[in-house]
Every structure is written in C-alpha cells, then in structure tokens.
Symmetry: C2
Subunit: 326 residues, 2 copies
C-alpha cells in the first residue's frame, strides 16, 4: 500500500540510501543521457561501498551510451529499496517498469513538475540535470566520485544542458563539471558520443528535417514532421530520432520550434523548444504533456494537418499572436 509522499533533503536521502543493501534503480522510458547517467552513476557508487544494485529500464539503452555500462553485469537479488532517477511521473516508467509505480522508496529528480509519486522525493529543481542531484547526494553520503562515476554524471550534465548551453545551466553546473573533469574523464570522447557522432541514417534524417522545415507566425515558429512512412523508408531507428528537436530553432528568427514524430500511424509525439520568452511547458500542458519552460513534450492523435493546426494555434496563443491578423 502506498504511504504518503515525503519531500527529503540531501542528508535524509543519503541516510535512506546508506541504510539499505540491495537497491534497484529505475530509469525512465525512452532513456536519455541524464537518466542513464544517474542510473549508472548511482549504481557504481553503491557497488563501490559494497552494496548490491541494478539498473532497469522499460526500453533498451541507446547504443551511443554503451561506454557507461561496459562493466555492468546484472546480478539478481531481492531489492530492499527501489529508487527512481530523473522520473517526474510514474507514466515515464514505461510498460516494463510501471508495475513498480506504487513501490518506489526514493525518487531523485530535478523536474519542478515531479508528481511526488515516491515515498520519499529528493527534488532539486534548481539543478540543470538529475545527475547534478546525484553528484551532490554522493558528496553528502561521503561516497568518493571516481572517474567511472564521473563519466556517468558528466554524461547527464551535458545531455540535459545541451552541453552547458540551455538556460537551466548554472555556475554550479560548471563547478560540478570542473570537479568531474578533475577525475580525468574522457570528456571529448563523451561529447562526441552524446552529441556529435551520427549514423548515416541520422545525417540523412537531419538533412531531411532541415530541408523540410516549415516556418509560421512571421518565421517565429518552425514546424517539421517526420511521419511513420518516412522514417521506415529511410531506415532510421528510435535512436536516430532522439534529440532532433533543437534543429527546429536554428533559424535566427525562430522563437518556438515544433518537432512532430509519428511513432505509430496517427499517433504523434511532439517536442517543443523555446529560445526566447515563450513557456512551452504551458503549451504542452494543454495537450496533457509537460516538461520545462524551454523544452517540453506531449502526444497528440489525429491527422498531420490537424495536429499541425492545433499546435500552431496553441503556440500563437501562448506567444500572444492573433492568428487572424497575420
């Protein structure tokens, strides 16, 4: 039975972790560098002090992050603690892990939108990444941050800040990056893995996106759709489609970018990006989604023209633009 949710601080969270010996770590579906970085950063830290741990995910970890789990061997044990990392809502547990929804002892997160689904929630909304929260937790718990742990945490740090570019980045983010780099991490290699290294399919899909970008609202809004037909035709994988959204804001006039991916026919995953004053989480909330001020997501079903029109109307309204006078 689920008990009431409690907000805990770093010291309480450290105590909770240190008191248990068999810790199961859950990462979110469609895993990104931050949730994977948290998962394995915490895993190696717990192993280093003699605890059992494992890292689970509903989906496969993308190939580009393989360097984070080359030394990982899943050992079976009965958990006495379940920890969720970088998970704002139980919906993000995904198909495989949703069975744990009511049994999560500790959630470590940085999303203001966290629904406090866990028994204990360590929420640090000022952190640009959940990996920064894990870093501060390890420091609090007196667990030394080794190079292996640092490579995990650095991965999350750069993933969620777009390599220190996004507005959530803080001076603290840089100071933590400096500490992580002191351990001798292969940061250039990691940056190439996370951001630069592309498959031929990825290069093709980016070219496609950039040459099919549509501009609306006085070129303040960019829109591009990748349909189901198209990506099966181009032979791209889910991994090839991860992190495409920043492409939508490349044109100098654009303030809000919309990326639409038709995962299944008539089911569209939407990613919104803002580079100025528009709160895209408010737009996504209208469609049952959420996220951050500058980066949010939602799902809309329907036909592509309908989805396009719904989104453009919502963006125009949020930007205070009257569609009728354009």
């Amino acid at each position: 039975m689920k008990t009431a949710s409690k907000r805990v601080d770093y010291s309480e969270a450290a105590e909770l972790l240190l008191a248990k010996d068999n810790i199961m770590i859950l990462t979110h579906r469609s895993p990104d560098g931050d949730t994977i970085g948290c998962g394995f950063g915490l895993y190696y830290a717990l192993k280093s002090i003699g605890k059992n741990a494992c890292v689970l995910c509903s989906d496969e970890f993308p190939r580009r992050y393989h360097y984070l789990y080359t030394d990982y061997v899943e050992k079976h044990f009965t958990p006495d603690m379940i920890v969720a990392v970088d998970i704002a809502d139980t919906k993000l547990l995904g198909a495989e892990l949703k069975k744990y929804s009511d049994f999560i002892d500790l959630c470590i997160d940085h999303h203001h939108s966290n629904t406090k689904f866990a028994r204990n929630t360590l929420l640090d909304g000022d952190s640009a990444s959940a990996c920064e929260v894990v870093y501060k937790l390890l420091v609090q718990a007196n667990i030394p941050v080794t190079k292996t742990i640092a490579e995990c945490l650095y991965t999350g740090l750069i993933s969620d800040t777009g390599c220190f570019r996004y507005p959530a980045t803080t001076p603290e983010t840089h100071r933590i990056a400096g500490h992580l780099m002191d351990t001798g991490i292969s940061y250039a290699y990691i940056n190439r893995q996370v951001f630069e290294m592309k498959s031929k399919q990825r290069i093709a899909i980016e070219n496609y996106a950039m040459s099919h970008m549509e501009y609306y609202l006085d070129e303040k809004c960019a829109f591009v759709a990748i349909t189901h037909d198209m990506f099966s035709e181009m032979g791209v994988t889910d991994e090839d489609l991860e992190g495409l959204a920043p492409l939508t804001t490349e044109l100098e006039t654009v303030e809000v970018g919309i990326l639409v991916k038709e995962k299944d026919e008539g089911k569209f995953r939407i990613s919104l990006r803002s580079v100025k004053n528009t709160d895209v989480s408010a737009i996504c909330a209208k469609f049952g989604g959420g996220g951050h001020f500058f980066a949010s997501g939602c799902t809309i079903d329907g036909s592509l023209p309908d989805v396009r029109m719904k989104l453009l109307k919502a963006v125009a309204s949020q930007m205070g633009i009257d569609l009728w006078v354009l």
Copy 2:
C-alpha cells in the same frame, strides 16, 4: 626597430599593461569569437580603469558577435602600447593591420605555435582559449571582471572549446566559466548567437555540405568542398561559411574531417579536424599552415581534384594508412 622577443608571465604582463594609458588592441583577420572576445574583454577592462583603448581588425566583425560591441565607440588617440590578442603569427594580422607587425609590445595568446613576434609574449599554451589568458591577466591586474567583460570572455571560451567539447577544455575552463556566470551573463543568449542561430543561407550551405560529404580511407576521412561558384550562387557570406569544419566529423566512423573552401578561384582555404589520434597540425604544416593537434588550417592553390588528392595522401600518411592497399 624590433627588439628581441621576451616571454613574460601574468604578473609582468599585468605590469606592462597597467603602465600605459593608450592601448591599441589588434585582433586577427577572419575574426572569431575568441579574438573578438579578447579584444573587447580587454577593451572594457582597460576603459573601466580609466585608460584609452581601441580594438582593430583587418576584417569586419561578424554580425553574430554584435552584442560584444554595442557600447563600443572608437575614439582616436596615439597609442603608447600595441597589444595583439589570440594572434600566433604576424601573417594573421591581415592586410589592414600588417603594418603594425614590428611594433607589437605585447602578445596575449594560447597557441603553442606562437612565433614570438611581439616584444613581450604572454603565452599560456595550456589554456583552451585566449580569453582564459585574458581572464587570468585581469585577475592578476586586480581589474574587476564585470558582466560586460564576462560576456566577452565567455564568448571566446565557448568559441574555442566548441562549448566545452573540444579536447583542449580543462577543469580550469569550467571553473572560469562558473566565475563568469556568477556575474549574471546571458549565456543562453550568447550560446545561441555563437552556435545555434543560423541564417537561411547558412542552413542551406550546411545541408549542401552534409549531402555532398565524400568519405575516404574506409570512411575514416570525410572531405567536402565548397567552391567559389557554389557559394556565390547560394548567396552566402563569409560569416555563413565560418565554423563549418565540425560538420566533417559527424559520421561515427570518421577520424579526420577536411573542409575545403575556394575563396578565390583556384585558391583553397583548408580546415582539418581530428576526433581521434591524428595530429592534423602536422598535416597542415606540410602545406605551410598550422594550428592545433585537433583543429588546423592551411591554404593550397590548384585545381580541386589536385587539392583533394594532395590532402587525402597527407591524411593517409599521417594516419599510417598505405593508400595502395586500400
């Protein structure tokens, strides 16, 4: 008359600067974020302690850096000191400024390849950017780093490290970034200006480059040429062509990327990038160019097929690949 060149440390360089009142600052031709950031960072610092200063360049400053010099008014004065920033060789002064070649009192630089052309050289080859050298110099000189100065220096820092990604980045780079961010700089805006904001022409030229990329040496080497005809046809400016080289190393198998720009007919500016173990400065040195291990440049005259073959041979040789057995 030119006197012997002396290597100075931060303290000596600070003394030299503080002893003079009318300081002319020279930036390099084809100015990038690092030389402009140094130039205006130093300019605002000198002005803040009551000195006269000006910033000169042989070429126009690219529009994307306009935020660094909106408050700049060039006032004429007779310099009692000439300072070169981020300039490794007098060749980089360009057409307008080469007349100062023999009269440079202080060069502030971070290139190991610096030719010690100035009377005094403050060379810190461990710094990822010349702006880091200027930062440390200002700290040494007890000149407070204001938000305005910090925005200049941050611009150089991210320009030369590809936003903390390139291998030259150090823990110190992050710590300095943290200090600069403490002043409240608009880092997300600056990052968008430096890296993300693109003109339609730029987007078109990137699409062109990515869809015309040629792969050689078992796909370890990428090559793309932008000819004179092509960019006049596409209506791109020099600014649109700046910083295209990283595109050449996007494919996951690539270790060395070659970007060829035909500035005038039959005259090719070459940019080489390395993402693994190949020293591209050694390759460029063969053609009279230079730079860093991971990023270098040179100029070759001839026909495009000849230039391509010369470069591929030099790359293969540097990588230890026997062209005949491929």
